[in-house]
Assembly symmetry: D2
Homo-oligomer: 432 residues x 4
Amino acid sequence: MLRPDRMTALLDLVFDRLRAPWRGRRRARAASPAIDADSLLTMARDVLVERSQSSGVGLARRMLDHYAALDDAGRLTFFEGLTRDFAPDPAAIESAWQAYRADPGPLSLAAVTRAAEPPRQELLRRLNQPPAATADLVGLRADLLPLLRDHPALAPLEEDLAHLLRSWFNRGFLMLRRIDWSSPADLLERIIRYEAVHSIGTWVELRDRLLPQDRRCYAFLHPAMPEEPLIFVEVALCAEIPGSIQTLLAPDREELPVDQARVAVFYSISNCQAGLAGISFGRFLIKQVVEDLSREFPALDTFVTLSPIPGLRRWLASQGEDDDLPPDLPATDPRAKARIALAARYVLSAKDRHERPLDPVARFHLGNGARVERLCWMGDTSAKGLAQSGGMMVNYLYDLATLEANHEAFAREGTVTAHPALSRLLREAASA
Amino acid sequence: MLRPDRMTALLDLVFDRLRAPWRGRRRARAASPAIDADSLLTMARDVLVERSQSSGVGLARRMLDHYAALDDAGRLTFFEGLTRDFAPDPAAIESAWQAYRADPGPLSLAAVTRAAEPPRQELLRRLNQPPAATADLVGLRADLLPLLRDHPALAPLEEDLAHLLRSWFNRGFLMLRRIDWSSPADLLERIIRYEAVHSIGTWVELRDRLLPQDRRCYAFLHPAMPEEPLIFVEVALCAEIPGSIQTLLAPDREELPVDQARVAVFYSISNCQAGLAGISFGRFLIKQVVEDLSREFPALDTFVTLSPIPGLRRWLASQGEDDDLPPDLPATDPRAKARIALAARYVLSAKDRHERPLDPVARFHLGNGARVERLCWMGDTSAKGLAQSGGMMVNYLYDLATLEANHEAFAREGTVTAHPALSRLLREAASA
Amino acid sequence: MLRPDRMTALLDLVFDRLRAPWRGRRRARAASPAIDADSLLTMARDVLVERSQSSGVGLARRMLDHYAALDDAGRLTFFEGLTRDFAPDPAAIESAWQAYRADPGPLSLAAVTRAAEPPRQELLRRLNQPPAATADLVGLRADLLPLLRDHPALAPLEEDLAHLLRSWFNRGFLMLRRIDWSSPADLLERIIRYEAVHSIGTWVELRDRLLPQDRRCYAFLHPAMPEEPLIFVEVALCAEIPGSIQTLLAPDREELPVDQARVAVFYSISNCQAGLAGISFGRFLIKQVVEDLSREFPALDTFVTLSPIPGLRRWLASQGEDDDLPPDLPATDPRAKARIALAARYVLSAKDRHERPLDPVARFHLGNGARVERLCWMGDTSAKGLAQSGGMMVNYLYDLATLEANHEAFAREGTVTAHPALSRLLREAASA
Amino acid sequence: MLRPDRMTALLDLVFDRLRAPWRGRRRARAASPAIDADSLLTMARDVLVERSQSSGVGLARRMLDHYAALDDAGRLTFFEGLTRDFAPDPAAIESAWQAYRADPGPLSLAAVTRAAEPPRQELLRRLNQPPAATADLVGLRADLLPLLRDHPALAPLEEDLAHLLRSWFNRGFLMLRRIDWSSPADLLERIIRYEAVHSIGTWVELRDRLLPQDRRCYAFLHPAMPEEPLIFVEVALCAEIPGSIQTLLAPDREELPVDQARVAVFYSISNCQAGLAGISFGRFLIKQVVEDLSREFPALDTFVTLSPIPGLRRWLASQGEDDDLPPDLPATDPRAKARIALAARYVLSAKDRHERPLDPVARFHLGNGARVERLCWMGDTSAKGLAQSGGMMVNYLYDLATLEANHEAFAREGTVTAHPALSRLLREAASA
């Protein structure tokens, strides 16, 4: 039997303690003297041929520190060098391939695999040897990603990095941790910084999201960079499904005694590491939190998000629907009702050129197997909410019993599952 | 600045706590109903095509549990299937290779890399997703290694496993932990079981190696299988370099006040995981322990091993030197002196067909950059010691100042560094 | 709401870590040069007048170290000196008392209190200032208690010590910790040493009591001497109430899946600190463990002991019942039945001169409010069991619903509660 | 050897974890229905006679919760009742005293001690049994202290409380913890709240005092109320003795690499618990921190405070020196020099009616054995600094080598030790 309390205790401990060495190192890094990208590429060649593991670690550390001191141009040169000089050797591939064709078999085929693996991968693995190196490589990918658009030839480097990071940030290595008001201040400082959905302005606002008994926050962390949350989710325990973020975050709201909670609301999910883009943990996180909360509060029967619809206004504009509806317009107003129907159409059926949901948040939750539960009129009347979606929000329902089936149907045929009322609304709108 | 005390604290914590879940799982595993190897290969194909990450994790867990229930024949069939059915597709390689030749460039070359990577690697990565899976994959490699001799065609599978394990057991992910008498009993139980050099018979013997202030033990552990030490080293703090293991481990010996310690003696180094053979941590461990002890006890000025010479008797026999010398023969006896000279020749200059030191322990320490310091007449008069080496032992010296240079000279030219007295002894013997 | 998981985590941590400093100190103590009891009494006077707190702490530490080096005679002299020289000053009492009588009031009465407090108490409080001193004072009381019989005049010193220890070992300061197979080896070593009821011969036997999922062990510890368990209880989770310790501890017994457990059996309770005799934690421990287990395993419906009847044979002898009945005599044999009836009479109604149950174990459990549930024929056929009670054991039932009422009835009127079958047995035997 | 790192690790852990249960309880307390002081006194009598320890604990918990709901008048009534009804019984004292006089001896004297101990003390000990009760009793004393001036008859109650708290907050039970930027946010929130000397306005200001490598903060905590710091000290590591708090706390100051630090400056010491007034830990804290820093940074050679002179302006006024000198007046200005000489006179020789230093901060540090090192002209130009002391501050030097001797001389003869330059200044001023 897994004992979640001990797991939690462990996670708390890991992350309370590993931080100091990691931080120390970054300070040291800043002090590294600048060397140019070409010298760095020479160091990279040395790292690859170094036979002493322990010297190799020192060399790798220095390389990462020097990398951190490069300017934009230096980084580009360095990336180009990695792509060019650390690619597989075509002659070696050719020779291995001919050998295979002459004598096909598992061993000769394995020789082709070896010849085709870029030395870059081994280089990156060696760069990952020193303490705290993993965070540096995540940072390196964060530097690289924005360059891909203008320098598509860097794609192989990015591919190798993603390949390795996916292996290192394996689900089995991630650790779920509850973040609360007794968490370390430096970790909380990062939560404030990384909150991407409903921003946190002050420590008092943060406390309001962590301290009340009807509020929770969970993050995934990785043992090799424990100071850095990878992704976190904020949860509200409610008596019923909430329709607006204003109510949820009102400073003067009443705290709900947890024994009256029936609904867990995921009201904010933030990815923290630009360098881990595309290496997704989100669905693992939500599923794990649903399971943990179910165990802790058996009375919870509904797990739901309160989500933004970031692309709605842009899409409405593309449909010629451009007018601002006032925040105090009641949901029963015909104009509100028409807008809700349009929003339902957007969330449920607008697709991008890959036939995926156009809205990125919808794409994520529907891909997880959630269903569209309800549209929330004026669910977010903040400036950002009004600008993105005219104030509309949406609840996605996470029902463990149907999650996998929904996910399968979505993955195989693009089927979007929705509350019957919404499907009906959509049909009526279509037939109108 | 790294703060080793906090690091230590963390390690203690990680390993005090993670154990319960891990143990729980193994219990569960035993209960898995048996399925045959072919069904398991079918599951493996499902794991590869599963698009839902979270379903994939469940499937992977079940696969590992079923694997654990296979018998020897089933395992062989399963390994053969993995080698055969999850190899790269030669047609895809051919096609990617032709595309590259038609239009050479980083992107078309990266496509060759992709085509040549065995799907097996992705399968193994996915198998590593569930909690505690890493230990299962280490176990799987432990099952596989002994089969290679009779089934060389399994080598590509072994290569893929080693490739991934090397990435996952990266130095940056390992954690050094001091093992002492307040360590968890279940961890200590494993230390007893894994001690490979000077076996530990009882808990009282174990306590004698852990509790006294002049004794230390350090292990590397990995966050994904924290219950299992990977490798550990036992250390004695001494006033001078010891010449025999009997003295070091005498039950009635006097404890040395640590402020009188000048020499740290590594008297036993044990690898614990058969499944991690060839993925070496040993030199990292010794180097780290040397650094940590230097910091803790600035008065230490000598770091040395007291090592067995496991191949000596066999080599002596090959030289026609077969007689047993009695343990009470003084080192000054001409026969003892002749034997010491021969042992020096064996340790310093006997080579295998790859021109590496013939003795495996010598190979390890010389490869690390240690130098041969002294031969110890009747250093180990246990039955095992007499049988392996006629009672001879050897001290290898770890001198941080010369370690890298020695290592380089050894790696480049096979140069073996030794104490001048030993080199002289060797020259005299040669000229005799 | 208390969160027991975090409490547990804390306890684990406290006791994993505090040990080193404590142990260090004891080592130091051994090295203290011997001084005689009179010099120690002089030091005691210095401790009392020392105005510098921090000098006082050093002085107190040295006093405790010197105390530890005293021989038996020295200790007696020292105790006599403490009793004689650090008693309240009768003249001061007289004067305070006259002042009170002249002008009765809260302030003049408080002055009497101050005059009547022995300076010894302040001395003992100051001796408790240095790190790890608490364990030394517990040890001092352990030295003192056996002397009281022959030196009744030492009672006031004992009274002062007990007074302070009762305050320091307050329930609010005690911490419950689960002891398991991943607990620190040095703590487990003490469990082996302190087990008073069914002795533990080897580490393997200990593991059999800690590792199986249907076995538990809990201890109270104190933050000021965390290396030392104060009291611990061993628990078996069973499908039904067990009637013999042989079955419970059989090396080849089947482990019970915990979801089938209905009964928690307290089969061994050991006080660990002779110096804390009479400062009882036992009932707190049992009550807390009952509550914790109820929360963890809601299916448990019965909490029961399997207890020895240590005084039975002696009492039987006093009743002229002296014969040994063979262990293989069935419980249905008339001789066995007669013996069971006598045992019931002993447990339920034999009283000492203070009208308390004659059997010390009965006294403890009945005082806690437990009821006598069942007598177990040949429940303990070990040499010790046969010698103490002719093999008989007894189950006491802890029913939270009636515990307080039973306790009240017992405390007020000496009423012993028993299972109706036992009460009937007793009546029948009486009328026979 | 004590291993301070393990101690630190422990402390971190204790205080990271124990908090949840404690906080939980306080929430519960708020919900207790109000009962009046007389009913509470009745409960108190029940607590005293309750023979069941575990019922007693529940009753005590309820009493404390009800106490927390009392208003000012209720509290006064309750305190008066405790003083009146739980005093020792004069008749019992008289009788014990007569028995002693009739037959003097240790036992009859001990009976007097027993008779003279107020039942109130036993009541308070029992109130301390439930979890988290200690904090409640500290709170109760905080409520009581301000009432003493107008209700001097409550003194015996206060005396009993102080007596017990002194025993429970024994130096041996206190734990030193480093507070840093990775400490739990709720603990840091309290540091902000309790900072009494140089107030902390925001979390950013707090970070500036905790995060830089040349800043430290240490607190004493107690295992029974781990959420609450008892006292804390803020430390700056400097290259030389600083003369102004402005420089020390300047937001844009340069961080000092710790290897260049020679001076540790205690620039703020705050007692946190009003209910522990007079139960002093301050000198233990400073001495311990001096020792710990010495070990961690062997290059530190000077330990010094930068302290306010809170009573200076008032005393100057009493001397007819009332004018405000401008903050930008140079220290070399004759008016500044005259003021410095007066301040020296105040700090070194102004006495209260008990012949103790008039300035409370001087009293504390001189009592600890520190010497007056230097007066700092315009060391604190904040509004508070100018108002209290016209901007003057003072450095007190903590020199472990002379601390005890200074303390002795001060305690015995009131001798104030000062830097020779200051003593000379004083003599010159006196002879002027």
